[in-house]
């Protein structure tokens, strides 16, 4: 019997305190097409990064065609015959298809023509990639990997921007590869595609492999169970149809709407979002990666992809999204995703960071100068309320703080700003459990002050615990709303698909 093309044995990987993979084992045969499915954070990306040399596992072994390998880098993995086509488009738009294909290769290989023919790009070799659609750009990325003659090809969400005929074309290509004994690992959220293309499905949840079965013996419903049930194995009583929307429980929520978004469509996603947030409630917003949550929140705040259609009302006032300053003036604040990129100013202290947007309000009257005593008092008080340790954090450079404390500085920044609506994008990203609980407490307190709180998170469990109501997003659209007893992790997960 021949050895499998790829065997991953009992691989564990942790980032900081979070375990991304726990004793995961998978096998891929020669010429086999294996689909990897699971919810956000299930470990699909981590396993593909390990197999393609982007990260190294903490423990466990990797075997390629019966030989144990230790992959040091993506280049090394390519040399061993493993190629990853990542989810993000990475092409040089100003170069032609041919130039993109051979990019990084020392000499132009003779089979550029063959690869281009296989991908249906043979007549467009001298077209600039910028002039191609996203599907053709994806094919260019696949072609670039194929030129390295991989034995194992990993496709991460390859069809994200594909139409039905384009998907069918990709499937033909993938099947052709499989016939030549090139193995394919196919990562996708689109379950109908998984059933069509894969020979076998591996289901993952919270870093573990929870299912491994042939596609022929798997139905759509079973696939959904693997994904939803895996994340919520502890609540088997949660059964039923997510389409039965239940009215929100009356939990101290007034009927006064503080935010109403109608038909808001951005250039980033095809769908339009309609929803509202009432005074005194914490509303959760979730969806799979790429569902358009960040685009939506950023659009309201006036950054990111331009708004194409729709209206935003804050209380009685119309907000035409344009700049963060305008949103602030209307009483909307956003705690954005990715605090190192979008919030923290390195080299400044916590105090200076937290006071940045409100510094003009804290000027000594009649002068351009900041009342620093007042500033220190305000920030210190707020950081103490948020239980930030150590106590002298207020005068520490923000770069020296841990993730949880840094996030509290960002939180403090926007709590200092008077507001009616607080939007939060992944506020608990990369913070420890304690800080997470404190952040949830703060959200509740803000709602109790009569503000409307909208918190976006890919961690469904977190939202079910902390929100009054959960909105589910898909392709820029709010596709489901769950509240009360219907708001279980499983139902929310199902609604995401």
């Amino acid at each position: 019997m021949t050895a499998p093309r790829l065997a991953v044995r009992e691989v564990t990987k942790t980032y900081g305190g979070a375990t991304a993979l726990r004793d995961a084992s998978i096998e891929v045969g020669r010429g086999e097409i294996v689909a990897l499915v699971g919810h956000n954070g299930a470990g699909k990306s981590t396993i593909s990064k390990i197999v393609s040399g982007y990260t190294r596992p903490d423990s466990g072994t990797l075997t390629l065609d019966g030989r144990v390998v230790e992959l040091r880098s993506p280049q090394h993995a390519l040399g061993e015959g493993v190629g990853l086509v990542p989810q993000q488009l990475a092409v040089v738009a100003s170069m032609t298809v041919r130039q993109n294909l051979v990019l990084g290769l020392r000499s132009a290989p003779r089979d550029v023509g063959d690869v281009a023919r296989r991908l249906g790009l043979e007549h467009r070799l001298d077209v600039r990639v910028a002039d191609l659609g996203p599907a053709a750009q994806r094919l260019v990325m696949i072609g670039r990997t194929l030129l390295r003659r991989p034995r194992l090809l990993i496709l991460d969400e390859p069809t994200a921007a594909f139409s039905a005929p384009e998907t069918a074309r990709l499937f033909e290509i993938v099947r052709g590869l499989a016939e030549e004994e090139i193995s394919v690992v196919y990562i996708s959220h689109r379950l109908e595609e998984v059933l069509q293309i894969a020979d076998r499905v591996i289901g993952m949840s919270q870093g573990r492999v929870i299912a491994d079965r042939t596609t022929a013996a798997t139905s759509m419903a079973q696939l959904e169970d693997i994904i939803a049930g895996g994340a919520d194995a502890r609540s088997p009583e949660a059964e039923g149809d997510v389409d039965d929307f239940t009215a929100a429980d009356a939990v101290d929520v007034t009927d006064r709407e503080v935010l109403r978004v109608e038909g808001l469509r951005t250039a980033a996603k095809p769908g339009a979002a309609t929803f509202h947030v009432r005074s005194g409630e914490v509303v959760g917003l979730t969806g799979l990666v790429g569902a358009g949550r960040s685009s939506l929140l950023n659009a309201i705040w006036g950054v990111g992809a331009p708004v194409l259609a729709g209206t935003v009302r804050v209380g009685e006032d119309v907000l035409v999204p344009a700049t963060p300053r305008r949103a602030i003036r209307r009483g909307v604040v956003l705690i954005p995703e990715g605090r190192h990129r979008t919030s923290l100013v390195p080299g400044m202290t916590s105090r200076e960071n937290a006071a940045l947007p409100t510094s003009r309000r804290r000027r000594i009257p009649g002068t351009p100068f900041i009342d620093r005593r007042r500033e220190r008092r305000d920030v210190h008080q707020l950081l103490t309320e948020l239980d930030t340790v150590p106590a002298q954090a207020v005068d520490m450079p923000v770069d020296a703080l841990s993730g949880g404390n840094a996030q509290k500085v960002v939180l403090a920044r926007w709590l200092l700003m008077p507001s009616r609506v607080v939007l939060l994008d992944e506020p608990c990203e990369g913070v420890d459990v304690r800080a997470r609980n404190e952040i949830h407490t703060v959200l509740r307190r803000l709602a109790d002050q009569g503000k409307g709180v909208l918190v976006s998170s890919s961690d469904v469990e977190e939202l079910v615990e902390s929100a009054d109501r959960i909105l589910v997003m898909r392709a820029g659209e709010i596709v489901a709303e769950l509240s009360g007893p219907a708001m279980t992790v499983e139902r929310v997960n199902r609604a995401c698909l």
């Binding site: 980032y15 900081g16 979070a18 991304a20 990306s45 981590t46 993000q88 990666v289 705040w301 950054v303 700049t323 963060p324 300053r325 949103a327 602030i328 956003l334 954005p336 995703e337 990715g338 190192h340 990129r341 979008t342 919030s343 923290l344 100013v345 390195p346 080299g347 400044m348 200076e352 006071a355 940045l356 947007p357 510094s359 003009r360 804290r362 000027r363 351009p368 100068f369 900041i370 620093r372 770069d399 020296a400 703080l401 841990s402 993730g403 949880g404 840094a406 920044r413 990203e429 990369g430 420890d432």
Partner: protein, 344 residues
Amino acid sequence: MLSAASPSAEATTSAEPLPDAGTTTSRGTVLRRRFGPWGVPLIMLVMVAVFQSQNSAFLTVANIWTILEGAALPAMVACALTVILVMGEFDLSVQAVAGFSTTTFAALMASWNLTTVSAIAIMLGLGLLIGALTGWLVAYQGLNALVVTIGAASLLNGGEFWVSDSRSISVGIDPAFVSFVRSDVAGVPVLVLLAPVVALVLWALLDRSSLGRELRAIGANREAARFAGVNVRRTILIGFVITALVCTVAGMLYTGRAGQAYPLTGLQVLLPSFAACFIGAAMFRVGEFNIPGTMVGAVLASIVPNGLLLADVSGYSTYFFQGGILILAVGFARLVAGRDTSHA
């Protein structure tokens, strides 16, 4: 502007939990933090000792005043440049703005027969206009600051010939203004008093005002400044205006100091002012451009030509020293900061 690579690289990996930037500091970092800020004073001390050993006239009261007076106007320009560097932009037109101001100010008094006060007012207006124009091109049109300011510098150089009709202006400059600039107050040259005043104003602006806070935020993380509601474009424009105004003032004072004006013979400060800023970034607020550091850097940058002159080293060696010091300063600032915060 030039350090934009690192945050975006971080953003692409945001799918997985970022390892917390905990409070762990390596021994190297501790050493750098503790001893790094003493590097520049130490170098200064060594230089003074060397120059003194070459010529005992170096450390005399008269020569110290000479050094400080020579440092005053370059220090003003360097402080102005600091404002631009703090917000992560570049300005290669500082010398040209000062030079244009020197010649035009002289021409306004000599050829147009304007009173000193109205000439000053017109110059301030012109400085504002120059700063607003470059600032607008950089901030609102998104043009590269390096290219815009090189272009502006060339235009201003040409402007000097145009306003002076390519002639040397020595008659018609208000003698009262000249003697004011050259005068002493209690034995201290007026320029040596004025430079710290300008520095103090700019320090207060950068370190104590909300505008300065915003300027610094733009320089350190422009994306975060935008998300924090800072009007990034307007603030950058204001930064360029402030810099151009200060350079204009320095240029006018140079008219008084020299008592004459000829195109392209004004303050020679482009290289020394950059050197001063980068030397300054290795002091006080280490790793960041700051006004007190720039002031020390400006003094250091003018000790060198003076000391070399007294040591009877041939004239062209100044070029080697100035260029060498600039590169050393950049390298040292980076070493002390331990990261690429020196924008180099």
